[in-house]
């Protein structure tokens, strides 16, 4: 039951933006956007060959500027959004746009691994999300499991809901909301809830987490001081509609039940610096992944607050040979909330972690120095969850 060694891939540039290709459910594929002020920025399409443990990459040029956030369309795997910095002489502005990958990238990439140097292809701009009136774009969110027509962007203190029209050629703001009040109101991140028919959104600004109803574009809850300091990231439990994970500069990961926002349901304090990213596993929501600027990625098993608090109930008749029986006995003791593994392959701050959309046991993490690490959930645990 040896676990496979992690697969490491190095980018030439520094990078913060990572996403799984959401619409792709067969191949294990991640998209990474680079940050460079001096060179053409790139989007690396990382294909992971699970059988051979090899990475295949394709590089697409993203000429608009350095990428701060990237998101793949849930409907069309060739469409993605980026938030990027446009730098003119004395001005830096964060913009967002919808792009399409060129159709032929997939065919050409396999033959020549180093074709990025030759003649990298360029992304095709579908439309800009015009933000001149609203300020810097922090992130763009696709409607989860939608048809790829609806987007939300967070710009400074605005929530903007976009409709893509005419095969994504034009984006129109269908509604918007503005956060007003005192203090630091810039949104740092947000998450579109997959529950309630995709009518809810959670955003983070400063130390507060807010929930929004997209039908009325009004705030439905607000967790003031959710974290001691800045909230960096959020994620919804894919299987429990009221559960939400958040992380921030107080080194903590907190789990919330939004029906009762007075106290977090659970708090993890394992990182020794800011936690930048938190992700629920798409199918087994007890698995929670966090990335931090202490250069560590931590995989936790939050059984007690997951949708499968007691594991799967398996009939004992199904098990024939003794070895399985032993294993079954072991797994019968209720699993405790625990840290499954701490991954220390990174040398620099980890700003993004992401589960694969194709293989629920596989995830990628990206550190600032451009190192992408692909890891798997330990097999022992995998079988315990499955069996």
């Amino acid at each position: 039951m040896e676990d496979d060694a992690p697969v490491i891939y190095g980018l030439e540039f520094q990078a913060r933006a990572l996403t799984a290709q959401t619409a792709e459910t067969d191949a294990i594929r991640f998209l990474v956007g680079t940050q460079s002020l001096k060179f053409e920025n790139q989007i690396h399409i990382i294909d992971f060959d699970d059988e051979n443990n090899i990475i295949n990459k394709t590089v697409l040029l993203h000429q608009a500027g350095e990428i701060w956030h990237i998101g793949g369309s849930p409907a069309d795997k060739s469409i993605l959004t980026t938030c990027y910095n446009k730098t003119s002489d004395c001005k830096v502005a964060a913009c967002a746009a919808v792009w399409r990958m060129p159709a032929e990238w997939e065919s050409g990439s396999h033959e020549s691994p180093d074709d990025s140097s030759n003649n990298p292809q360029t992304l095709e701009l579908l439309c800009h999300l015009d933000n001149t009136a609203h300020g810097n774009m922090a992130c763009v969110l696709w409607e989860p499991m939608g048809d790829g027509k609806r987007l939300i962007s967070l710009a400074d203190n605005h929530v903007l809901l976009w409709d893509l029209q005419e095969s994504s050629a034009e984006a129109v703001i269908s509604s918007s909301a503005t956060l007003e009040g005192k203090g630091q109101l810039k949104f740092t991140s947000g998450k579109w809830s997959p529950h309630h028919n995709c009518t809810q959104l959670a955003t983070a600004n400063d130390t507060a987490i807010r929930g929004w109803d997209l039908r009325t574009m009004s705030q439905i809850y607000c967790i003031e001081n959710a974290h001691g300091q800045l909230v960096r990231d959020l994620d919804f439990n894919p299987n429990k509609q009221y559960y939400l994970a958040s992380c921030g500069d107080d080194c903590k990961v907190k789990f919330w039940d939004v029906r009762n926002i007075g106290e977090p349901v659970k708090t993890l304090e394992e990182h020794s610096h800011w936690v930048w990213s938190v992700r629920y596993n798409h199918s087994h929501d007890q698995l929670v992944l966090t990335g931090s600027s202490d250069s560590r990625v931590i995989l936790s098993n939050m059984v007690s607050i997951s949708s499968e608090p007691f594991g799967h109930l398996v009939d004992e008749d199904d098990l024939s040979d003794t070895e399985d029986n032993n294993q079954e006995e072991k797994s019968k003791e209720p699993l405790q909330d625990s840290i499954i593994a701490t991954y220390e392959e990174h040398e620099d701050s980890v700003y993004a972690v992401e589960w694969s959309s194709a293989d629920p046991w596989l995830f990628a993490s990206l550190s600032y120095d451009g190192r992408l690490v692909i890891n798997r959930v330990p097999r022992a645990l995998k079988y315990r969850i499955l069996l």
């Binding site: 540039f13 002020l37 060179f39 004395c90 974290h227 001691g228 300091q229 080194c251 020794s272």
Partner: protein
């Protein structure tokens, strides 16, 4: 011829007419007469030897033959002369004896003759006497014969006289009884009646006696009535009462009824006592209730002042201190003197009357003592229960923890007085219930002391907090003197602040004092002269469970607990807790771990001679808890201080437009603030914690900063960035660098020393700086400003940390990241940076 001689000698010795037996008897008598005993000789019966000349079986023939056969002539001669000598001496002895005997015989004969004469005279006198006596007898017989008649008459007359007197007594009885009744001489009346009762009973068939009897009955009924009345009246004393009861008993009143009456009467009196107590209990509450709400401070301070160490001035105000009324000792005293003593009196007289009375007559068969003592028990139990509830209520009101001795003395008196009851009434549950009350009171007392200690602790923390807050500004400036005069401007206010060590010392001393005084107060419970101190509870459980666990251990745990709460509740935002307090508490907990806990526990164990019946908390467990708390506090302190500096750095990075900044002319003010704050933190921590160990660093550490940032190296590092051909190299370089440096945990636990604490704070600050820089985009001058700032930090921060390479590394990272995020990375000349930094 020899034989003849000796034979003749032998015949001479032996009287001719005597057989051997007779001869022996005479011999024996002679011996007896002369007081000789056969001591020198061997036992008589053994001398069967016929040759033994002194033996009884001496045979002269055999002896002579033997001599002749065995001895020589000379020997025979000798023998002969010897024997002749012996015979001669025997002869003279014999003569003397005979002479003496003769003399005596002569005198005896004279005496007898004289007696004969005397007796003759006496016989004549006796004859005369007997004739006289006969005459007397005759006379006497004659006289008695004449007096016989008169004598019988006199006897009869005297009998009649007695009878008449008795009758007179009977006839006078009603009047006498009446008179007694009038004079209230009940006892006399009853005894008179008792004397007459049997007679009257016997002759009740005669009308006149019946009349008397009826009269007597009526009077006695009246008397009984009066007695009962008196009995019923509350006013009479216990002695009177018992007299009443005794009389009534003698009047054949039913004992049970009397018991009941007696008890009920006693009860009514005891109840007035109880009511008095209760009134005392109730009355001041209504008075002090509103008073306490109106003027909590005024009434409380006076009470608190009486306490040994002014315990908890703020709490006792709310606790309705019973200053305005009688204190508990008085209350208990009153209870003892009134209730308990009269209860004892009642018990004693009751027992005297009903239980222990000599059982006589038909009273014995009624089994009175058992019935009576049963009644008494239930009576005592119910009353005692009421008394106990009152006492307990009073004890519960005793909440001011000021003077424990009063309570202990009160309890002691309470307990002591109950012993009297137990002596009087051996089987009663009252004393044990009393002991239970004492035990409960002691438990309650411990709880109160614990909470008093806790409030005291919290109050003193508040005081410390105020002391820290008031001159807080000056703490900052205190230590900047070392800042090479760069920041010298505000370093003057130094003396105003109470220094942290002083605060720590006074805090821990006052807590320790408080604990000691509480221990001393509690110790009163186990003092030798206190009656209940030798009860098993006070010997065992009170000491171990109560004082050690319930008081001392709980308090230490509370201190740790509350310390930990400072970390959690005040937590995230940097909180309301001043960092100095965290530091102080951390040191306090550490001191507890190293010495105070074991000291306190040893003290407790010694004072209370704790015998651990049940498992108790070990010193080590407490110590580790304290250490944990100290660690947590210190970590939190580091976190809070780090955050304060981080916030400054973050704001300074986030709010500036780094693309369009002007060329750096000096170090930004925020960096000076950072150094200042770090210095003051260094001073602050240095006041409480030891220096700690640094990794050895080069003697010219400040110089070293220049080498790290020497322009040549910097050029070399950043050079590849400028050439588009090799974009990888920067990453590679920094990655290689990281490969060889250790991973840095930013928010990691720190050690208990200054250097470690400062290292932690600086790590947190610089890491924040790094992350913030990475989120920004810089223009050329922005980068240069960062360079200047970092150099400045480099100059001052290395001295605080355990490993200066850490600072170098983080600052390198910051400048490196800034260079990466720079649109136009043209670094500043190192010499220029140095000049700017020197200038300040």
């Amino acid at each position: 011829m020899d034989a003849d001689l000796s034979a003749s000698a032998a015949t001479d010795v032996t009287p001719p007419d005597s057989d051997p037996a007779r001869k022996r008897r005479v011999h024996g008598m002679l011996k007896l007469y002369y007081g000789l005993n056969e001591e020198g000789k061997p036992d008589q019966p053994e001398s069967l030897d016929p040759c033994d000349i002194n033996g009884p079986h001496f045979d002269p023939e055999v002896f002579l033959n033997k001599l002749r056969k065995e001895c020589s002539l000379t020997e025979l001669m000798d023998q002969e002369s010897c024997m002749v000598k012996q015979i001669r001496s025997l002869d003279s002895d014999m003569q003397t004896l005979v002479y003496e005997n003769y003399n005596k015989f002569i005198s005896a004969t004279d005496t007898i003759r004289k007696m004969k004469n005397d007796f003759k005279k006496m016989e004549d006198e006796m004859d005369c006497l007997s004739t006289n006596m006969a005459a007397i007898t005759e006379f006497s017989a004659r006289i008695s014969g004449t007096l016989q008649d008169q004598h019988t008459q006199i006897t009869k007359l005297s009998g009649v006289h007695t009878l008449l007197r008795k009758l007179q007594f009977l006839f006078e009885l009603p009047a006498r009884l009446n008179k007694c009744l009038e004079l209230q001489a009940y006892a006399q009346a009853v005894s008179s009646h008792r004397r007459a009762r049997c007679v009257l009973q016997q002759y009740s068939h005669m009308p006149s006696f019946r009349g008397i009897q009826d009269d007597c009955h009526a009077i006695m009924d009246q008397l009984a009535q009066q007695l009962r009345q008196k009995f019923r009246d509350g006013g009479s004393s216990a002695k009177d009462l018992s007299e009443c009861v005794e009389l009534l008993l003698q009047l054949d009143e039913p004992a049970e009824e009397l018991c009941d009456k007696f008890l009920s009467h006693a009860q009514s009196r005891l109840e007035t006592d109880l009511l008095g107590l209760e009134a005392e209990l109730r009355e001041p509450v209504s008075v002090s209730g509103p008073k306490a709400t109106v003027d909590p401070a005024g009434s409380s301070t006076s009470k608190a002042g009486e306490g040994p160490a002014g315990l908890t001035p703020s709490t006792s105000g709310t606790l309705l201190s019973p200053a305005s009324r009688t204190d508990i000792l008085e209350f208990i005293d009153r209870g003892c003197n009134e209730f308990v003593s009269s209860l004892c009196l009642v018990i004693a007289s009751y027992q005297e009357l009903f239980v222990n009375r000599p059982q006589e007559g038909d009273l014995a068969c009624k089994n009175i003592p058992q019935m009576a003592s049963g009644k008494l028990h239930s009576f005592v139990d119910t009353l005692a229960a009421r008394y106990f509830t009152l006492v307990e209520r009073r004890i519960q009101e005793e909440k001011g923890v000021g003077d424990n001795s009063l309570l202990v003395r009160a309890l002691d008196r309470f307990h002591r007085r109950l012993q009297a009851v137990s002596k009087l009434l051996p089987g009663s549950a009252v004393p044990s219930q009393g002991t239970e009350i004492v035990v409960r009171a002691a438990r309650e007392r411990i709880r109160q002391y614990l909470s008093a200690l806790q409030t005291f602790y919290l109050d003193s923390l508040t005081d410390v907090r105020q002391a820290l807050a008031a001159p807080r500004l000056s703490v900052g400036g205190a230590g900047v003197a070392g800042g090479r005069g760069l920041l010298g401007g505000e370093s003057s206010v130094k003396d105003a602040s109470p220094s942290l060590p002083d605060l720590l010392v006074s805090l821990s001393a006052s807590i320790l004092n408080q604990i000691k005084s509480v221990l001393a107060s509690v110790h009163l419970f186990t003092a030798k002269d206190i009656t209940f101190s030798n009860k098993p509870y006070f010997k065992g459980e009170f000491c171990s469970e109560g004082v050690r666990e319930g008081l001392v251990v709980s308090f230490v745990k509370f201190v740790c607990q509350s310390s930990r709460q400072f970390c959690e509740s005040a937590g995230d935002r940097g909180g309301t807790t001043p960092p100095a307090l965290l530091l102080l508490l951390s040191r306090l907990c550490l001191d507890y771990e190293t010495s105070t806990i074991s000291y306190i526990l040893t003290l407790t164990d010694e004072q209370f001679l704790v015998q651990h019946h049940s498992p108790v908390t070990a010193v080590t467990a407490l110590c580790s808890e304290a250490r944990e708390a100290a660690q947590k506090l210190l970590n939190h302190y580091v976190k809070v201080q780090g955050l304060i500096i981080s916030q400054m750095l973050r704001k300074s990075v986030e709010t500036r437009d780094w693309v369009n900044t002007i060329e750096p002319r000096n170090v930004r003010a925020v960096m000076k603030r950072v150094v200042e704050d770090t210095t003051s933190i260094d001073v602050q921590v240095g006041l409480l914690y030891e220096e700690g160990v640094r990794k050895a660093h080069s003697s010219d550490s400040s110089k070293r900063t220049f080498s790290v940032y020497s322009s040549s190296r910097q050029q070399a590092r950043y050079a590849p960035s400028y050439t588009p051909s090799a974009p990888m190299d920067t990453n590679l370089l920094s990655n290689i660098h990281k490969l060889f440096s250790e991973r840095i945990d930013i928010f990691s636990p720190v050690e208990f020393n200054k250097v470690s604490v400062l290292t932690g704070i600086i790590k947190i600050s610089l890491k924040t700086f790094l992350e913030c820089v990475r989120l920004r985009t810089f223009g050329r001058y922005g980068l240069q400003q960062i360079q200047v700032d970092c150099h400045y930090l480099q100059m001052y921060l290395w001295r605080f940390v355990s490993d200066e390479n850490l600072v170098h590394f983080l600052l390198d990272e910051i400048v490196g990241s800034a260079a990466h995020r720079c649109l136009d990375p043209a670094p500043m000349e190192q010499s220029v940076i140095e000049v700017i930094c020197e200038r300040g």
